[in-house]
Symmetry: C2
Subunit: 269 residues, 2 copies
């Protein structure tokens, strides 16, 4: 059984203010927690039902994880899900990468992010829905994208719904928050910048590069004018057919990202 | 101001039992309601703030819509959203298409669904998340897929979250619920059946057809063994790269559907 202090601490981590203060976040469910334990993240503690602990003793010992046995009532009191799973972990937020794209420490972007200009990266502007954001990280992970650069207006990486919907990808993709316009200004001319718009040349016929940055705009507003100015190649996902009653006006941001990234990857098969 | 009876009726429609009983469902937000008004659906009533009514007088008159002026407090009491929009519509559920794939009335599938064997359709098995289901309808709509055939285990089409996340596509795509195995048995040999699996030949190199049925399985279990037996072409969305900490195990069902459908459409460009 967990103590009231433990339950209070875990529940505090559902709120951003306390995640920032304690530098910890929540991950739930067996697959996700196992992913986190085997990831580079440090685990502050695992709260689990007895059968889960028994089934994972080897992993717990090998990784020297601190485990607290919880009963089903405890899990109901700490869960962020509609149906609590058998395990919840408190994961430590690693020291920030806020300086990755600034010259504050005198090191260049290349030194800090090896390969950044020789690979495909994702840039997210104003993605505020945690489910969409997590899904975007999962897409990046699946298609081998290592770096995701986000505007400050994007939802926080350690929001429980982001962690949950990323299905563990939060631990495998490097996510940065920075002022996107300043970054794009700084690296202008060194890398192609792709953006998806409702119109323009078809993604399927447009010349693509193996490297570049793909900007995905917010669901409600698309890519802002400020960032559009940096786009060197505009892309359009063609739509097909239409009923007499009109047709879909747009695709969900994560869906659009997946179609675009898949096409980049298809071409280098 | 709305009456208590009106507010009670609208709130009842948030529950499936009452949607079934009253044959009505809810649509919210200006874009969605406007889509519904211009769709083949009949509108039972529109509940809106005064500025919305003023801005849409022409549409309301032309379509002879019954409108009730609501104040912001009313909207808060009837909304299904975290932040209520300026308008909510009650839409009539049209008479069912339950018999589309049965021979109960002696007419064939071709007679009931012209073109079914000459086009690309989507089949959904066990999609229980309303957001995913709505996103799948939006994808079908964008890519010109007219028919979506669902297992009885899929979420209900008129669930408010489905309607909302479909962004109006619920009104433009024909959705059927039926026993998928019986249907596939009946049409076996007449159309290619594609299924996405975690492994197999790459989607990007596999031979595809202009016509066919694409089966999307549930997020948790994929395509069932029972339906897999009907798949004539297995597809695999290749994943790329992998960190030392593993990689994403799968893609979200809607994301996978979008990548597969986009590839079909790309080939016939």
């Amino acid at each position: 059984m967990l103590s009231n202090a433990q339950i209070k601490h875990i529940n505090a981590l559902k709120i951003k203010k306390y995640r920032d203060e304690y530098k910890e976040f929540i991950a739930e469910g067996s697959t996700l927690v196992t992913d986190m334990i085997t990831s580079p993240y440090d685990i502050a503690g695992v709260y689990a039902l007895s059968p889960w602990i028994t089934a994972h003793l080897e992993l717990i010992r090998r990784k020297q994880i601190q485990v607290f046995e919880a009963d089903p009532k405890d899990m109901e009191r700490i869960t962020t899900l509609a149906n609590p799973g058998p395990v919840l972990a408190i994961v430590k937020i690693p020291p920030g990468d806020d300086e990755a794209f600034s010259a504050a420490d005198g090191r260049s972007v290349e030194q800090k992010l090896p390969g950044f200009f020789q690979e495909l990266s994702l840039m997210l502007e104003g993605i505020s829905d945690p489910g969409n954001f997590g899904t975007l990280l999962r897409i990046a992970d699946w298609f081998g994208i290592r770096y995701v650069v986000c505007s400050e207006s994007c939802v926080e990486l350690y929001n429980p719904k982001v962690v949950q919907s990323s299905m563990g990808s939060v631990a495998r993709v490097k996510v940065f928050y920075t002022d996107l316009a300043s970054l794009l200004e700084k690296i202008k001319g060194r890398i192609q910048v792709f953006g998806t718009f409702l119109g323009g040349e078809s993604l399927f016929t447009r010349e693509l590069d193996k490297n570049g940055i793909i900007i995905i705009g917010s669901e409600a507003h698309g890519i802002s004018d400020q960032l559009s100015a940096f786009v060197t190649r505009r892309l359009f996902i063609p739509s097909y057919g239409s009923s007499e009653y009109g047709k879909a006006e747009s695709l969900n941001a994560a869906v659009a990202a997946a179609v675009v990234i898949a096409e980049f990857r298809r071409r280098i098969v």
